[in-house]
Each structure stands twice: as C-alpha cells, then as structure tokens.
Amino acid sequence: MATYGLMIDNEYCTGCHTCEIACRNELGLPQGQWGIKLLEMGPWRKMDGKWEGKYVPVPTTYCTMCESRVEAGGVPSCVLHCLANAIEYGTLEELAHKMAERGEQCSIFLP
C-alpha cells in the first residue's frame, strides 16, 4: 500500500497559521492542541546580506492526513486552505518526484 505524506514548500510558506486552525477544525481539537504546528526559524541576515529564515509547519501525531476528506474525493484541510498553496498531499513517490523537481527549500513529512 502506498504511503502518503505532506510536502511543504518552505520557500513560499508565509506563516499564515491557516493550517493550524483548519486542522484543528477538522479534528475537533481543543485549544493548546495542534494537529499541525507552525514553527519559525529565524529570520536572520546572512553574511552576504541576504535573509535566511523559514516557516515550517510540522504535522503532529494527531494528523490523520484527513482520511475521510480524501476518501470523499477531497484533499486534507491544510492543503485546501493554505494561503500560499504551500502544502501538497500525495504518495511518497509522487512527492519525492515533485521535491526533486522543486530542487530546493522543501520538506516531506510523514506524521
């Protein structure tokens, strides 16, 4: 059976927090609990003057990859709502292919 995951575009994730709330709505989690949590790295200025810094949403062990949504023909809630369209859902194989195509600044999570 194929393994499914989430691929995050770390260049374009703008840190909107949408995934956090969309996920919590889907899973019915109370405050203080997260099915996906936005982490922030930096920002800081590199020695060449350019910026480093990323937002990285990390799925937690609550994440079910929105099984029932996907079964009904939809996509996981975080994927649908993400303002920057920075989250993709697919099989590891598909995502690895996309990741290679993307070439930089992305990550795949298996919750």
């Binding site: 374009y12 927090h17 956090e20 969309a22 405050q31 920002p43 910026w51 993400c82 303002l83």
Partner: protein, 768 residues
Amino acid sequence: MSELTRVSETPRVTELEDGTLVYRTAQWSPPGCHGVGCGLKAFVKDGKLIKVEGDPDQPITNGRLCIRCLTMPEYIYHEDRLLYPMKRERQFRGQPDKWERCTWDEAYDIIVEKYHELTEKYGPDTVSVWTGTGREASAYQFQTCNQVFHSRTAIHANGGWSCVIPRQTAMDWLLGCAYVEYDGAFGFKDRFDDPRYELPKYMLIWGRDTLWSNPDGLFGHSTVDMMKRGMKIIVVDPRANWLARHAEIHFQIRPGTDAALAMALNTVIIEEDLYDHEFVEKWTYGFDQYAERCRTMTPEMAAEICEVPVEDIYKAARLLAQKPCTASVGLKTDQNPNTLQICHAIWGIFAICGNLDNPGGIKLGQTMLNGGSTGRKGVGMQVNEEDTNPIPIAGHDQYPAMDFIINTTQPDCTLDTLRTNIPYPIEFLFIQSSNFISSCITQQPMQWMEACRHKEFICATDIFMNPTIQALADVVLPVSTSLEHEGIVTFHGCNQPGQFHALTQVLEPLGECKSDLQIMLDLDHRINPDRTEDAEKWADERGYLDNKIQNIPYTADPETGEPMTYEKLREWVYGRYEIPYYQYEKGLLRADGKSGFKSPTGRVELWSTVKQHLGEDPLPYYEEPRFSKRSRPEWIEEYPLDFVTGARRPTSFHTEHRMIKSLREIRKAATVEINPVTAEKYGISQGDWVTIENPWGKCKMMADVTPIVKEGVIGCDHGWWYPEDKDTELFSVRKSSINSLMPWKEIGKLGLGSHYGALPCKIYRSEN
C-alpha cells in the same frame, strides 16, 4: 466592453447525508475585512453554524482561507456578542452596568426623536455619521448621512484622511482614473493563463504588506501566486517583512523618506533614457517640467536621505523601466504629509514607462461613467446638485481642496469643530462599525473621546461592546454578521475587475441582530416616510441591492440581456467582472467617451493642473518627516528611536477579533519589534513588557526582539484593546495605545496625509 459572467454551476446549497446543509457564499464583513469576497462553504446543522471551509469554486481564492474566517463560529457564537438593542442614560456614559435592553422600536423612537429635536435646534449638519475602515458599513455611510439624515457631516476620524484617499486623489488627478491596482488577471476565467494576460516582470511593492492586509478588495496572497510563476519583487518598507525578505531588492528606508526614493527612481529612468518616448509624447502632460524636477533629486541624494545603497536605486530603476512591470502601493504612502508627492512620483515611474493599463502593468480603475469616487467638485465628476449652503462642511474652509477630494469633513479639523462648534455644532453622532478610540484610525484617540463625551446624543452599531461604545454611546444597535444577511461584494466597487459575488444569508440572525443595510432602511422609513424618488430602491434590502448592481456599468444579465438582479446573483453566488485593457485608447475613462484620461488635459498629468489650481506645487517634491532626527536634532538625546506602526497580522482586522480566543492563542498582546542590538542596549529581552514614550504620550507593548527592523527603529502594533479586561476602564484601551504617541493635525498642504510613524520615542522595560 466589460462583462459580468457566472463563475460556477455548483448549486448554492447542498445537503449532506446527516442533514447538514452546506451553503456557498462570499465573505466581506463582519467579522471585518476588506471586500475580498473570499469563497466560503458554511456548514449548518439544525440551524447552527458548525464550521466554515474555503470554497474551491471561488476563482481567486480557490478554497484558500485565512484564520479569521476559519474561526467564524467562535466569533458568531461568542458569549459577548451584542444580540439586542440597548439604551443607557446619557449621564452614565462609560459605565458598563447601566445598559438596559430595549426593543428596536424603542431604540428607533429614541434616535428619531433626538434627530428631530437636534436638527431643529442646530440644523441638519449637526447629524454626523462615522464609519471605520473597510467594513461593509462603509458602503452605506454617505447614503445614511446624506440621504437618510440629510446631513453633510460624514466623518472618517482619520488624521489627514490617511487611508486610501490620498492615493486615490493622486490616481484621480494624475492618472485620470479611479482606484488602480496591480494586474493580477483577476477578471479572467483562466486567470494567469488567459492569452491576453502577461505576467509582470517586476512588482514594486511600496509600504504595503498585502499578505495580511488584503487591501481594498485585493486577495493579498495573489502576489505569492505571481511570484511562483516567476515575477520578481522590489520592496520599499522600513520592516523586512516576508515579502521584503523574498525581494530581489529591499529598500529598508529611513521611515517617512519615501518621496526622495520615488523621485530618484524617476531620475535614473529619465537620465538613462529608459522611458517610453511614444507613450510620453502621446499620453502625458508636462514631461519636461516633471523630468527637470525629478533631476533635482539625484540617486546619490536619495541614498543619503533614505539611508539605502545608491547602487540599489540604479538597479531598481533599470528593472522597473521594463515592460510589463506593475506596482502594489499601500497605506504607508498615505500616512505622510508628503503623501501626494510620494504617490505622484510613484505613479510617474509607471506612466513614463508606459506601464498603464497594459497587460501585466498597472490596471487603471474604471471610472464608472459618473467619474469615480472622489468629491463633489472632483475632476470629471457629474455634479448632480450644487451645494449652495454658505456654511462650509467642517474643515473645508481651512482646506478647500477637500471639496475636490471627498464628501466627508476634513478629519483633523473635525476635532476642532467638535470642541468649538465652529462652523456648526455636531451634537448627534451615528457611529457605524467604528471603534475609533482603540488606537487605529485616530491620532490622540483620548482627545477624540473627550471631544465627543459631552455631545447631546450618540448611537453606535456593532457586533461587540467595545471601548468606543462603552465610553460614548446612549443607544447601541446589534449588527448581523456576514452569514446572517444578504449583500454584494465587488473589487473596490467594480473600479477593478474580479469578484462580483453575493453574500448569501446562511443563518437566521442571532438574537435580534440586523444588517447595516436594514438599519439604514428602517431609519429611512421613519425619517423619510414620504420618499417618492427611488422608492423601490429604498423599500427593502432586495430593492436596494438591485439598484446598487444596476448602477454599475456593464452588468446586464448575460443570459437574457436584462438588468441583473440580486436574486439571480444570489443563485450564482460568484460572478466575474471583466474590465478591458487600454481603456484610455478606447474612450472608456472619460465621461465624454473620448480617448484619453479623465483629467483636465485628457492626459496623464505629470505636471498637475489640478494641484496648481488648488495652490499646491504641480510637481513632486521631498519633505523631510517633521519630527525626524534631522528635523529635530535637539530631541535625539531624550528620544533616540523612531517608531513605525501599522504592521498587519493575520490574527486581526485592525481593532477587531481581540476577543477570539483561538486567535489570541496565536497572538497574545500588542508587540513592539526591536532590533537585537537596540534591545540589548536597553536591557530588554523577548517577551518583556516595554514602555514606549514620547512628548505626546506613552503605552506598553510586549517586546519581540527581531532583526527585521533596523537599529534605532521600532515597529509597533496598532488597534489593541483587551476585551478580557472587563473590570478595567474601557477594556484597558489606553494600555497599548500607540496612536496616543502621534501628533494631531500635522498634515499636508491640501489637508491629506499625516504621520502615523516616522516619529521619535524612547523605550524602557516596564516594571510589571
């Protein structure tokens, strides 16, 4: 020609197996936002909203949704929501325990009785209608004021009217069109893939954080969509926000120095002969004088003034001279006494390079046949009724240009008028969705509160009790949320192509809430029972919305050719509104149908005949911020830092959403961004409470130690109050009131633009 088409055939309502009804609708407000019209799916079970999701059928947002919409059930069913009209004796203003529930009839009777009593005593202009920013209520302000109450005293209590109006005035006077925006292919079915469209090579983003502000109907993340397709960005902002950190060039300018940079960019383009000679020759007026003036600001001078690398100015100018390039110009260009000159020089860059109304350039605003959205004497306006009242509207005697700009009082002078009753007393306040003492639109908000406290009658409409209502109101009317009423949402009133959607009613209003529109109509029926003109329009909500739609050009029903109705739009939910390119070639900008621009010369006025006529310099110039270190070197020792304000957050719309726990979990309190070097110097650590102080006032915020601001500059949140502080005076509204540190009436020569940043201060760690 422009056209209106249906976007999606999906039914408006579907039923799930468990009986849950899923309604498709578009969002405006409340809860507050600009009229972006994001697509919603509202899940309703047994009459109760259980969740909100994004609707993939909305052609611009495609299902994407921000956390303010995703938390709507929390907002709608919040325990503090106002559900019934309430009244309070005037002597108990400010006292939370003196409110009494009343019926709508009783509330309306009080309002109408006071209306007759006070207009008889002081004349109709004593009635004032106040509106905050962006919310749907702002669409009804002028009608409520002028047509229901027969008053000219519409008020936006925003120093120097520093929110969109200066930018729009420059668009009107210089570009001869209505509201302009970057071309994001918003009106096309296939969006970026439409063969008529071309992706801009560069977007110049100036003082605008679109991602979180979604300004004036723009879906902010459309900028990211364009970046992903290959568009590059150049950002001008004192803060290194996400966009700036992803920019090819970021001008981290000294706050308030925008005009110098804008002029210098022109200088490079002109000196290096990079401009579009044919466009300049055929469509612009006054190029030679404009070029001569711009040359007085060399890139070297601007680099010194703005404290940015000079080579970046050369590089950016060369990049922006290409075709097509576009611009995203924001609020910070309004919030400066130098505003008209900043906007003049920014639009000038795109005018001389021929990047106006071309695919991927700057999309010129449709002028709506009647001339656009500025004041009664506005250039190219059709004046229906000459104002023969010898008494000027508040502030228009001191700033006569306001008559050419907008049908409101001049905001700064309004505070004088409230205090002095000159030129007439304002004793009746009708405040629609404006929480103006909560550190957003007003400068010195406590002075505004004091000036209003002793007025004879004050009524407010809103969703929640807030500091403004608690401090001032005698009657409060509960407003319904966007899911509880019908309405329409378009991109800046259809000045721009894009959304043309219905806000369909999904829920029965909670308690006795009513829409802003219904409240206006109810008042009209009581004050003007014998209205004969436009009787159908004023009869009910549907009549009003039909009329509104039918007054927008080119909105015929595409299936029948008949006038479009709200009922039909409601069935569609989403419509798409297209506006053609090159309107100036096609005679679509001018009331007379001739080619050219809606300006006195029919051209883009690089040398502005209107500014000249109004006594302002017809060409752009640089004015040093009035309280900068260079203007006030004697203040440096005591106030060594400069503050900027207005950074947008996804967790709130200005003063709204402060009571939503899920959003407060993400953002707890007002924050002040401090560079690590500055923080260390003052012994401040992440999360410390910090006092910010200057000669005008002081406030407290939580420190966010971050390199995104330069040393010596701090970035302060606005619009904070603390609804949980129910036992504290006015929900602790003074605590984080950064607007208390802003001088009032430091405005541009024509009455526009004021300092909401570029102001001196000191900071120190607070004791508690």
